[in-house]
Structure formats: C-alpha cells, structure tokens
Symmetry: C2
Subunit: 164 residues, 2 copies
C-alpha cells in the first residue's frame, strides 16, 4: 500500500500475501496486548480478508460451517473481538465487515465503498478527521468516535463505465 495516497486494490496484487500479512499483524497485536488469537478468531479474520469487500456475518458463518458446526454467536463474538482490536471495521450502511490495513494505528473509519464492484477501501485522512472534530467542537459536542462512509464508484469501475 502506498503511503499518503490511497490506491484501490489493483487486480494484480498478491492477495495470498495480503492475507498472510494481515494475519501476521493480527498475531502480533494480540500478543502485544495479551489477547488470545484463537483458531476461530484467526479463521474469521482470514475469511474476511478473502476479498477486499465487506462480508456479512452470516456469510462468514456459512463459510465457517463448511468445516464444522458453528452458530451466530460464535461469529459475532469473533467479530466483536476483532473490532475491539481494530483488526476489522464494521460498515454500518452495509451491515458488513471489512479487514483493516492499519490496525496498529488508532484511527476512525473512513470508507470508500464502490456501489458497482462492492470493493471497500479505507481512507486515513487527518484532514477529514480534524475538520469533523473542529465542526463538532464548534457545536459544543465532544467527539468519541466518527464514521465516514462514502458511496460511489471506484476508479476501476468508473473507467469501465466510460468505455461503453
């Protein structure tokens, strides 16, 4: 991932490696915080990272069930855990979950969601963050968390659309 400038995932990127890195980061973060990165949690995180698209809890559940029994609470517990550690974000407008690329940095969620291909990328813009903070403060509001969800078309889908 380039620094400073977000790029949508290119089709040629090595996704197996991408997943492996995410799992490695997760392992490290859990270790640092004395949390257990159990088999279920690892599997759920891995399933989420299969694509750069948000995935629903019940979709995760279905996948899990292909290798044994599982019930909704199993998935939701894992998702809660992963969210608490910043490894996964919930996309409110989709009721779905996506892996976080920068779990080591504390940040608020800023998401670009492509309505065509469903890919979801994260912005890490201090500028957006601070403008929101400023405006909220001006209204006498103390911010605990801010979520930004941006719907539209990613670069790739935009290009394809203009071809026609």
């Amino acid at each position: 991932m380039k620094k400073g400038k977000l790029e949508f995932i290119s089709s040629e990127h090595d996704h197996q490696r991408c997943i492996a890195e995410a799992l490695a980061r997760a392992e490290e973060i859990c270790a640092n915080r004395g949390q257990r990165f159990t088999a279920i949690r690892r599997k759920v995180l891995e399933l989420i990272w299969q694509q750069h698209k948000p995935i629903g809890a019940y979709e995760v559940l279905e996948q899990l069930q292909r290798q044994g029994r599982a019930a909704p609470p199993t998935v939701y517990r894992a998702l809660d855990f992963l969210q608490d550690l910043g490894l996964v974000h919930r996309i409110e407008s989709l009721n779905a979950f996506v892996g976080c690329n920068q779990p080591h940095l504390p940040h608020e969620g800023q998401f670009l969601i492509c309505e065509s291909c469903r890919i979801c990328a994260e912005l890490y813009s201090d500028e957006i963050h601070s403008v929101i903070e400023k405006k909220a403060f001006a209204a006498g509001f103390k911010v605990r968390q801010q979520r930004v969800e941006i719907m539209g078309l990613c670069r790739k889908c935009l290009k394809e659309r203009s071809k026609k």
Copy 2:
C-alpha cells in the same frame, strides 16, 4: 435554528411548534413535487418528530398500532417515501430514523449523536462535505453520497457530567 452555527435543541424550545413547522414544510415539499402527503405518511413523520432522537421503525409501528392496525411494510414504505423527499434521515449506526430540519436543501447526512441522551443533531457543513469530496477524488473515487456519523456527548450532557 441559528444560521451557520448549530445548536443542540434546548429544552425550552417550543416543540409543538417545531413539529407543526416540520409538517408544514413536508406538506409544501410534497405539493411542489406532486407527491401525496397521505395520512399515514403524515402520522409517521409526526411520530418521528415527537423527539429529536432517532426512533426505530418498530417503535414507530408500535405507536401507529395504538390507533388501528398496521404492519411493518406500512412503516417502511412511509419511511422510504419520507427519505426520498429528504424529510427524514436514516442513522445507519442506530438503525433508526430522525427528522430533517432542512429538507428543502439538498445535503448529505452529517450527524452528531449524543451517546448519553440519544439526541441527534444535524450539521450542514460545506467544509466537511468538500474535504471528503476532495479526498475521495484524489483516490480516484466518484462520490455519489457521503454519510458522517459522529458519536459522543452533546453540550448539555457534557455539562451535567462535569458537575459530578
């Protein structure tokens, strides 16, 4: 409502009038667009405006049922209609709905949600809007809609908390 600076709803504001104004605005907007402001739609909007807090669809349903039969689709249809006209916004992180103060202006949703008293106020910040637009554009993304949901404490709850 003051211009330029958002104020959280003060407890002494004349809420009956507030509701009446919202209904009058709705009536006008419907008329302008050749849409029917039916009894159900009016009632649902009125229920939503009872408080400046987001209200769930099933809560609206319960209220509706106090004066006759009603089923979920009735409520969701009215909510869809009201959202299409900008009279109501959906707060994604709460699965709930809140009335819009500025339905005549096209705008994206920017919400301040108090986690203590649940009151929800809307920002109308061009600055937030344009910064998000700019950053998305820089990422090659074409924005169709943006949602900002800010969780924290409103002025009033903040003050009360500091008393203790």
